[in-house]
Amino acid sequence: MPSLLRVATAGSVDDGKSTLIGRLLHDSKTLFTDQLAAVERTSRQRGEDGPNLALLTDGLRAEREQGITIDVAHRYFATPARKFIIADTPGHVQYTRNMVTGASTADVALILVDARKGVVEQCRRHAFLASLLGVGHLVLCVNKMDLVDFSRERFDAIRQDFARFAMKLDVHDLTFVPVSALHGDNVVHRSDSMPWYEGSSLLHHLEQVHVASDRNLIDVRLPVQYVIRGGDFRGYAGTMAGGVLKPGDDVLVLPSGFSTTVRSVRGPGGVELAEAFPPQAVTVELADELDVGRGDLLCRPGNRPHVGGDLDAMVCWFSERARLEPGTDYVLRHTTRETAATVAELDYRLDVNTLHRDESATSLSLNEIGRIRLRTRQPLLFDPYRRNRVTGGFVLVDPATFDTVAAGMITGPRQAGTGVTWQSAAVTREQRPGRGATIWLTGLPGSGKSTVAVELERRLVALGRSAYLLDGDNLRHGLNSDLGFSPRDRAENVRRAGEVAALFADAGVVAVVSLISPYRAGREEVRALHERAGLPFVEVHVDTPLEVCEARDPKGLYARARAGELPGFTGVDDLYEPPSAPELVLRPDDGDPATLAANVLAFLER
């Protein structure tokens, strides 16, 4: 089966780009007789000698009349080995906007230089844009070789000049082909006029270039587009953005943090797949019934994207009617999410010719590129663009005109040190009066967490230690009073409790946290937070069986949940994920709450 290769071409009409594409179509026998007849007719009307192959790609009347190319045109041709989609981008007007658009999906960028002129500014600019957009393969076509007597010396000089410049770019495969688009040398067939050239013809190179390893087959990313329900079937539809997904895989749903298992992966029409790769359209069934919707993302538990709303990105500005200025609000589209976003800062404007960074810039206008700091209202689930083009790319939409005004490539989470900084204290942890820690008691409602926690705090204080009880219910009266019980709010509830506990621990206090904290992922994040800060974290699973908890039902909550009054109640109709490796497990058989508290204390003393 032929594979698909997407090629972006850049260069101006003067360089013979349209002629080159016309030549590719013509010599690969993709050009149709009626298209050629139309081109010959127009060429004659304009008094040109021979068919002007550039007319093939200039699709709009204004383009033909003015002899310029306004917009990205798509051309298609196929050989037995591959089908090619050429995004042909103009060299004259709005070159950057169109080149960026064409390059966004390209596997290969084809850049033309005129052999007589050599590597000019425009050529460097195109190469830079291709590398910025993550196009890994660059082909430099040195055209009009017939006008330099097919000189090997001229070709070598251009090659060395360009290779020197390309070292500054992120291009891992660079190929040079000497061609004459007008006469067809080295376009489809090897040229007899350049016996010194030992490489392939352009078409042969495009048929062979190895792009399989360009795709990210490591990081599983499936942004959910649409939920498909039919009878008992509930599937999450989306397009694979990274990694390899198989039935039986453990997956994490972001941003809620549920973990579950993949029951089936299906292709279009419901065909069961043994494994799915990017960019396949799939529908995934999960083992558990969870609240998953458009804008969520599936990944592997040990390999997550960044989750956050404060990030750095390179942007290319597209609008001729407005400028990008810090403080302006836009609508941001990223994977299957849409959220409000503010350009918080413009770090610099990049001169695409010299790669100089102008840090004094205060705005970007049409076709300018710069680095910005972006704050989004809802968190994004993203990877750096260099790692994944789908989860790293976004567009900005003007909320008033609905125009697409910018393309963005995320470089990563906002780097601390610019904007918000960390203020160092003058007191070290050793200088504080006590040694802090976090004791995190997790378990079902009614498992006895709070009773153990209250007793533990009492005993610690009796021993002269600074201790403080952070009870889940109590926190919901104040700090977390704005949160409900949706998976998202629960995740936030746990995150805040974890942050507060870490502050207490850092201050030298033993924080005793009593919180259902039903999801493993949330607890793991709190643990990671403590580990990063070098603070002890003791996860205690109060492992009281559900039947026992329900029989106790100290607050009458199980009864109300069973009556349908408390939807999403952990243990009844929402999931509780027990810890996989807690420091300590407390079971009712181990004794009464006082004994259990003593067990925790004993563990701490060790």
Binding site: T33, T42, L56, A78, V100, Y226, G230, P268
Partner: protein, 306 residues
């Protein structure tokens, strides 16, 4: 190449990649729009469109109705096929009859009897009446030079018009479908397919098509270098002679201006071989409406044509 890469490559062959792209587009529209509709004439491109929509939402039914702008100049085989498909998949079909617009005076019959250009107003009126906000069409960029420049999500203003110089940049697989009340978005999931891709996919998926796409005996007459068929739309004129030939259709439009091609291709494999050998584009070969002028398609698109 590693084994994993090889497997990943196999999953990315041309037709699979095009299928995935089209399905991604269908699902984006389902997730973002309130009232989408699929333009469905029973022709091969719209049949393919529907086939992909059915696969995109399996096992649930397609969450959109179908819309057919009926010129009244139809091939009987195509209308039968249309109705069979609608019944088989339990779909809802809205039909806008051009004849109704002629009858009540909103449109006037053209002197040449061709009704293709008359489809635009009934289409726009029906979009307005039903408040459709996304309209799927089977247009492909390889069909014609103006289409080569059209976006996958193509905004139409309140008059249904396309403004080629005000198109939104379309990057990665992010589509901006924002529009104001009264405006709508034309969506072209087959943008990147070629005629050969369409036929190869029809073969791979064994998609059923109206019989006139395959070779059959038909009474035809020669006009403007095309084989037109007899029908209620008039013709042949006195100076035109009717012959019975073995023909098939490469495209299906208004009967008055869609030409047949001489062909003995009676199976999908025969058609693929014929398409690969052909030196004429399908529109150049068989559509009088596209030959009117060099910018014929661009002008009709600006007015709101498919």
């Amino acid at each position: 190449m590693t084994t994993l890469e090889a497997a990943a490559d196999a999953a990315r062959d041309n037709l699979t990649a095009l299928e995935s792209e089209a399905i991604h587009i269908f699902r984006e529209v389902a997730g973002e729009f309130d009232r989408p509709v699929i333009l469905f004439s029973g022709g091969k491109d719209s049949t393919l469109l529907l086939h992909l929509a059915i696969k995109a939402f399996w096992p649930a039914p397609v969450p959109f109705p179908l819309l057919h702008v009926d010129t009244g100049h139809n091939f009987e085989e195509v209308i039968d096929f249309r109705d069979r498909v609608v019944e088989k998949y339990g779909l809802r079909l809205v039909v806008a009859h051009v004849q109704d617009w002629i009858d009540d005076g909103r449109l006037t019959e053209r002197p040449d009897g061709t009704r293709n250009p008359l489809q635009t107003q009934p289409l726009l009126d029906t979009i307005t009446e039903h408040k459709f906000d996304a309209v799927f069409g089977g247009g492909r960029r390889d069909e014609e030079r103006a289409r080569a420049k059209e976006r996958i999500f193509s905004l139409r203003n309140a008059f249904g018009q396309w403004e080629p110089r005000r198109q939104r940049p379309e990057l990665w697989n992010l589509y901006n479908g924002r529009h104001r009340p009264g405006e709508h978005v034309r969506v072209f999931p087959l943008s990147n397919w070629t005629e050969a891709d369409v036929w190869n996919y029809i073969a791979r998926e064994e998609v059923d098509l109206p019989s006139i796409y395959y070779a059959h005996q038909r009474k035809v007459y020669r006009r403007d270098g095309m084989w037109l068929t007899e029908g209620p739309w008039g013709g042949p004129r006195e100076d035109e002679t009717v012959e019975e030939l073995t023909v098939r259709y490469r495209t299906v439009g208004d009967g008055s201006c869609t030409g047949a091609v001489e062909s003995t291709a009676s199976t999908v494999e025969d058609v693929i071989a014929e398409v690969q050998a052909s030196r004429l584009t399908e529109r150049g070969a068989t559509r009088a409406d596209d030959r009117l002028s060099e910018a014929a398609m661009e002008d009709r698109k600006r007015e709101g044509y498919f």
